[in-house]
Amino acid sequence: MLNKEQIAQRIAKELEDGFYVNLGIGIPTLVANYIPTGVSVTLQSENGLLGMGPFPTLENVDADLINAGKQTITTLPGSSFFDSATSFGMIRSGRVDLTVLGAMEVNDEGDIANWKIPGKMVKGMGGAMDLVASAKNIIVAMQHTNRAGDSKLLKELSLPVTGLGCVKKVVSNLGVFEITERGFELKERAPGVSVEEIQQATEGRLVVEGEIPEIVGIWE
């Protein structure tokens, strides 16, 4: 099974040189720590920054410089600041090459739920609905099952939907899944996790074809 860092590490392998990337809060944020050498990506923070740098040193903390997770951050050479309308203009017009998001549930048609648990959690969607409605390429980083052990890769969402048919790929603690017309296509297994375990933990349509390799080249 992959831990959170390893999920992030695996997703980082999807990054291509020149990509503009929006990373959601949580595991997605960790992806920034594993950008492959030789690959240059620019991080977009939807509160109004392109070219997000690392966290500041304590003496460089600036209350006026935060990311969409409200964390203090820094800029890099080539950064730019802009207003929220311009920021979501970039997103909606498809200029962001890759979006990595967390999710509570994903179904086998690529629908995603990640903003609301009726009667329980009312936090709001933030920028997630804009991102999932617009991004060309959306990867979801998530745990495969919830605390009760129920699958979060479903036939039908039980929670209010954030966006329809938008998720292209899921990287969970159990493996890597491409979402196609046929459902969740298992592409890679987490080391030590069997196809059977994945089948057991996946409620939505799962496609297993041929030998499924273990994920390689991470947690070195």
Binding site: N47, G48, S84, V122, M125
Partner: protein, 229 residues
Amino acid sequence: MNKVVQNAAEAIVGITDGMTLMLGGFGLCGIPENSINALVKSGVKNLTCISNNAGVDDFGIGLMLQGQQVKKMISSYVGENAEFERQLLSGELEVELLPQGTLAERCRAAGAGIPAFFTPAGYGTEVAEGKEVREFKGKHYIMEQAFDSDFAIVKAWKGDTDGNLIFKATSRNFNPLMAMAGKITIAEVEELVEPGELDPNFIHTPGIFVNRIFKGVNYEKRIEQTTTR
């Protein structure tokens, strides 16, 4: 014509019970601290507040929630505020949650004289309920309308007495959009200078959008998550 007022108390004159206000900021970054404090002090009630977030329990719009001054919040994310959640679940507070880009664009539309536009955000979700859906080039969009607000209250880094504004870093966020959108726009600034001191090529909000401006004091600029290397 003089746009300069002396302080927040003077700036918020005319804001009365039941009005709709826009308040700039993202989280606690770039919020109009002075004006919020003056609103708390004024005791004005039954406000509808359009703001991306609702502050935290003891800062920002959270202070107005503590005073039960807010009837309705229109926001995209309200997850940092326990009092908010309590009032919402108890039915004391209405909330309309909108995609962040839709929130931004509805402000911008108001300031640009665009009564309505189409956006893909929220199609097929609760957000689309009751809204017109239309297909353009094979993709579905929902129609969203410009916000209607009585006052917009923004915080800028520098401003001049003609109302020109410059924002700093990510404290820009919703501020320039809301500045365009208010029937009356109030700007509080850290530095207030004379016309000519700001480079005309690098003004973020042209003065035409700003009706009242004042130099704010004692900015706390609270940080929600101080993360360091």
